[in-house]
Amino acid sequence: MLKDIVIDLDDKELFELFMDESMKDKAFTMIVKKYQERLYWHIRRFVVHHEDTNDILQNVFVRAWKGLHNFRQEAGLYTWFYRVATNECLTYIANQKKKNALSLSDDEHGLSGRVKAEKGFDFKNIEWRLQLAIQTLPDKQRAVFNLRYYDEMPYEKMSEVLETSVGALKASYHHAAKKVSEFMLKEN
């Protein structure tokens, strides 16, 4: 029932409902239901583990609860959520690097290691190999690649999310795709 309502309401309507104190809780639940899966996968592609993904995802929604009042509608909820989620991921990874004093791109201890430690990992499977390839990318480039490749986000939207020019994003995606292809060829 709620899922149907969520599909019918656009971001602007959801935001207006959220700002109505009597409807705030319901609107928030609708917002969570609308964005939970998309954001979950966006975060999980970054941090790999489910537990970390869950922590970050809940942080994103808690931040939404606290900060949506100051949200400027011209940006769009979709963009706002992706921006917050991406920043949370980048901060988390940076903190992990400091904590471990190791590069997370390092094969054994970093994100590649996390991929290999996941349940069901199989190097022969192309899906897993692609995940390994993506983890070799620098953080920002990985964000660009994931947003473009998996979420199929237009460059203009990506520009708002990552606060980078469209030209720079195109170049970044091109470099990322090249590296991923090279990895796939090499590991094939």
């Binding site: 969570v32 939970q36 979950y40 809940q58 929604f61 808690v62 996941e118 692609l130 490749y149 292809s181």
Partner: protein, 220 residues
């Protein structure tokens, strides 16, 4: 005109008579033919300028760019083919019912966060208030102590004044044991006390400290 006549004759021979067909009234911009030659000259000259421009481009291109272009294009095609063949599905597993339970989890988190913040603020404020009260209490005790003592004594004296002698005697009789124990007299063996010596010493010590005048006043 002679030519025109020939054309008319020729048409006539062909069985076509166009002698009645006149040219329609078509308008020409005023002074068109007067300025036409000038316009033509400018056009020809500008064309000359364009044709005299160099064909060579001033831009530099990377070394071996042209030579390597075909290889690069082939690489891009391979790259695109690889990218097209890559899956968009994720291999990771998600716990069962995770997405259906997430909104409730988030709501629970939101309800916990403000309370914990509230508790932290409340505890810190209560701690501050208790510290201030303690400080004030200590300060009052230090600065007001003489007055309080005086007031306490005054109060005790005023209460004692309304108690009759008989009541005092009765109280002392009832609480003698306790008083003696508090004065540590009960543990002293009475036979060990030389009362005569004690009296002499006490009187000596008492009267030695008194002047003659005080002694005189005392005896009087």
């Amino acid at each position: 005109m002679k030519n025109r006549k020939h054309i008319q004759e020729e048409l006539h021979e062909l069985g076509v008579d166009l002698s009645v067909v006149e040219m329609p009234d078509m308008e020409i911009p005023s002074h068109f033919f007067e300025s036409f030659s000038t316009l033509m000259l400018e056009a020809v000259k500008s064309n000359d300028v364009i044709t005299s421009l160099p064909i060579e481009m001033p831009f530099d291109i990377p070394e071996l760019y042209i030579e390597q272009l075909s290889d690069n294009v082939r690489d891009v095609i391979i790259e695109e083919k690889i990218m097209e063949a890559l899956p968009k599905t994720m291999p990771y597993e998600v716990p069962a019912h995770y997405f259906s339970e997430l909104p409730a989890q988030v709501n629970a988190t939101i309800n916990v966060v403000p309370r914990s913040v509230f508790n932290r603020v409340l505890i810190s404020r209560l701690t501050l208030a208790a510290t201030v009260l303690l400080f004030m209490g200590i300060s009052l005790r230090i600065f007001m102590n003489p007055v309080r003592t005086k007031h306490a004594n005054t109060s005790f004296e005023s209460q004692l004044a309304i108690v009759s002698d008989a009541e005092v005697d009765q109280y002392l009789l009832l609480h003698q044991a306790a008083i003696e124990s508090s004065l540590v007299l009960v543990n002293i063996d009475e036979s060990s006390i030389d009362l005569q010596k004690w009296e002499v010493e006490m009187l000596d010590n008492t009267f030695n400290n008194l002047s003659d005048e005080e002694l005189l006043n005392y005896t009087l």
